[in-house]
């Protein structure tokens, strides 16, 4: 699976309140509605700037804070192709895999806002089309690859009825 898109860059410690504020998430299960408010406190126009398949690129500890699964879902429903960061907070990371949102750990200092990237998820490679650089990425544990390949944890359970690793 190859994703191509431009980067929207953020800093360190992008928390779940920034991704989707508590004031919205408690009201609805309509993720298309929540997606309109994604990253709103960091960039009020973010949702309107995203073209389908774009990437969120950030520093360390992306997704820290709440366990709210609405955070990766809001990103996914805003049609972001993948989140690329130096590191992720653990609950967000699990939630992203469970909901089928690709999350990639790599050195994001080599990626600038607006750069075009080509991400090959099956090969696990990133090419920065703007700078021509290849960026090595940290491989995912087998369990997570299995869940992602099944299309998320819901699909995994639909298929097996329980955990099957």
């Amino acid at each position: 699976m190859i994703l191509r898109g431009k980067c929207h860059k953020f800093g360190n410690d992008v928390n779940t309140d920034y991704i989707i504020s508590g004031k919205y998430k408690f009201k609805t299960l309509d993720m298309n509605e929540l997606a309109k408010h994604v990253m709103e406190d960091l960039d009020p126009d973010f949702y309107s700037k995203v073209t389908s398949g774009d990437f969120i690129v950030a520093g360390s500890n992306f997704g820290c804070g709440s366990s709210r699964e609405q955070a990766p879902l809001a990103i996914k429903y805003a049609k972001i192709g993948a989140v690329i960061a130096k590191s992720f907070a653990r609950i967000f990371y699990r939630n992203a895999i469970n909901t089928g949102l690709p999350v990639i750990e790599c050195d994001t200092d080599k990626i600038n806002a607006g750069d075009e990237l080509e991400v090959d998820l099956s090969k696990g490679t990133i090419k920065n089309l703007t700078t021509g650089e290849d960026i090595p990425i940290k491989p995912l544990p087998d369990v997570m690859i299995k869940i992602l390949r099944d299309g998320g944890l819901i699909e995994h359970f639909k298929k097996y009825g329980t955990f099957n690793f």
């Binding site: 309140d17 508590g22 299960l29 406190d41 907070a89 939630n95 909901t99 369990v143 329980t162």
Partner: protein, 417 residues
């Protein structure tokens, strides 16, 4: 090779020999969802083809984040949770019972050696009971509700050895804020924290819950403590069964061991907008405060209310400051009434609200206005956390919050002790 507490619990629950770095599928003892996460878990449960709950007595839903409901959207989600309860007969706490991280320990269903998952990041609170308790998302929660299991990557552990005695006017909250400031907000990511030493054994259970509650604020998966007589007394008081405590082996392998002497610690705050942006109260004293919040899953327990009541008794909050008090549970609310604390708060000018999470998470019950400063006993001060991204949140102990509410500005509580 010796094991840490979390390695031992995950070995027992997975029927294997679990060490850091491995991935195991383990049996869960108790599963919790609240109104911010359970509705999505119910949706996932149904989409997964779930037709039964693995054990209704081991699943609990708590309505605490928007309780009572502030609007019809929330009411629809609450209704969904009540319908699930009616369908499957699970444990349930409706509005007014309290914050999940207080009502779960109060239920007596979790204790030493338990493995608990909760769809709330502060589930790590129950680590104070020597349980491995961790936050998960809604789909993980649904998988656990169906199967009674979940997969875990066994984490490495950072051991915190806390020596010495906390000085007067300095509390568990000051200690954990200090540690988070030192370790940083992602210093323990993908790891567990084990807290030990005389500073921990001297703390009440209420103080220990405060420490474990905030393990997530340094990125940790769990914040574990050894069980002792205070732990067993707490479990027994709440009708819990006999649990078997889990101790780390002397030759357990830690990612690192950090030692601190707490004897010289001062009252601390976390300044806006990150929890690790810490300072001594004396460094920010005089900062005007428009709203003070006493409560939350971090510091809404009886001991916290007692400390605040001691300061507020016979005094009035500053005319330019509001004080919101939310006891952590119905039981605590009742005890606080019996002991006269609620009367003290109300006479001092506080607004006492339903036990719950509203003010902390920004859903209702005290959303600040633009440019206002809030001092709160909560665990997060992220921008927008309390419902307005143009407000500034400071985190502190109940003593500092009470002293600041009286002064109308951030104030050192030590003169009151």
């Amino acid at each position: 090779m010796g094991k840490t507490i979390i390695e031992k619990i995950l070995s027992q629950k997975s029927g294997g020999d679990a060490y850091a770095g491995q991935i195991v599928v383990a049996d869960v003892d108790y599963v919790m969802g609240q109104d911010g996460t359970a509705p999505l878990a119910i949706k996932s449960f149904r989409e997964m083809g779930g037709t039964k709950v693995f054990d209704p007595e081991k699943v609990v839903f708590v309505i605490d984040h928007s309780a009572p409901s502030p609007n019809e959207g929330v009411s629809r989600l609450h209704k969904l949770m009540r319908e699930f309860r009616d369908e499957y007969g699970i444990d349930f706490h409706d509005i007014g019972d309290g914050v999940c991280h207080q009502v779960v320990p109060e239920s007596g269903k979790v204790g030493p050696g338990s493995l608990v998952v909760g769809a709330d990041s502060h589930t790590c609170t129950y680590g104070a009971l020597n349980a491995f308790a961790t936050g998960v998302g809604s789909t993980d929660l649904a998988a656990a509700i169906i199967s009674g299991k979940l997969w875990f990557k066994v984490p490495e552990t950072i051991k915190f050895v806390l020596k010495g005695k906390l000085p007067k006017g300095v509390f568990a909250k000051d200690l954990i804020l200090y540690l988070i400031g030192d370790v940083t907000a992602d210093g323990a990511t993908y790891m567990a924290a084990e807290y030990t030493g005389e500073a921990i054994s001297n703390l009440s259970m209420d103080g220990r819950f405060t420490i474990s509650n905030m393990a997530i604020e340094m990125g940790a998966k769990a914040g574990l403590m050894e069980a002792d007589e205070k732990t067993f007394a707490f479990v027994k008081e709440h009708g819990g069964r006999d649990f078997t405590p889990v101790f780390a082996d002397p030759d357990a392998v830690y990612a690192k061991v950090l030692e601190y002497d707490v004897s010289e610690l001062e009252p601390m705050v976390a300044k806006p907008h990150t929890v690790d942006n810490t300072a001594k109260v004396t460094e920010v004293a005089g900062t005007p405060i428009h709203q003070a919040v006493l409560g939350t899953c971090t510091n809404g327990r009886l001991e916290d209310l007692r400390i605040a009541a001691k300061i507020l008794e016979g005094r009035k909050i500053h005319p330019k400051t509001r004080l919101i008090v939310a006891p952590a549970s119905r039981k605590i609310f009742l005890k606080a009434m019996e002991e006269g604390f609620i009367k003290i708060f109300v006479e001092a000018g506080a607004a006492v609200v339903t036990p719950g999470c509203g003010p902390c998470v920004g859903t209702h019950n005290g959303i600040p206005s633009d440019g206002e400063n809030v001092i709160s006993t909560a665990n997060r001060n992220f921008k927008g956390r309390m419902g307005n991204s143009n407000a500034f949140i400071y985190l502190a102990s109940p003593a500092t919050v009470a002293a600041s509410a009286i002064a109308g500005e951030i104030a050192d509580p030590r003169p009151y002790f």
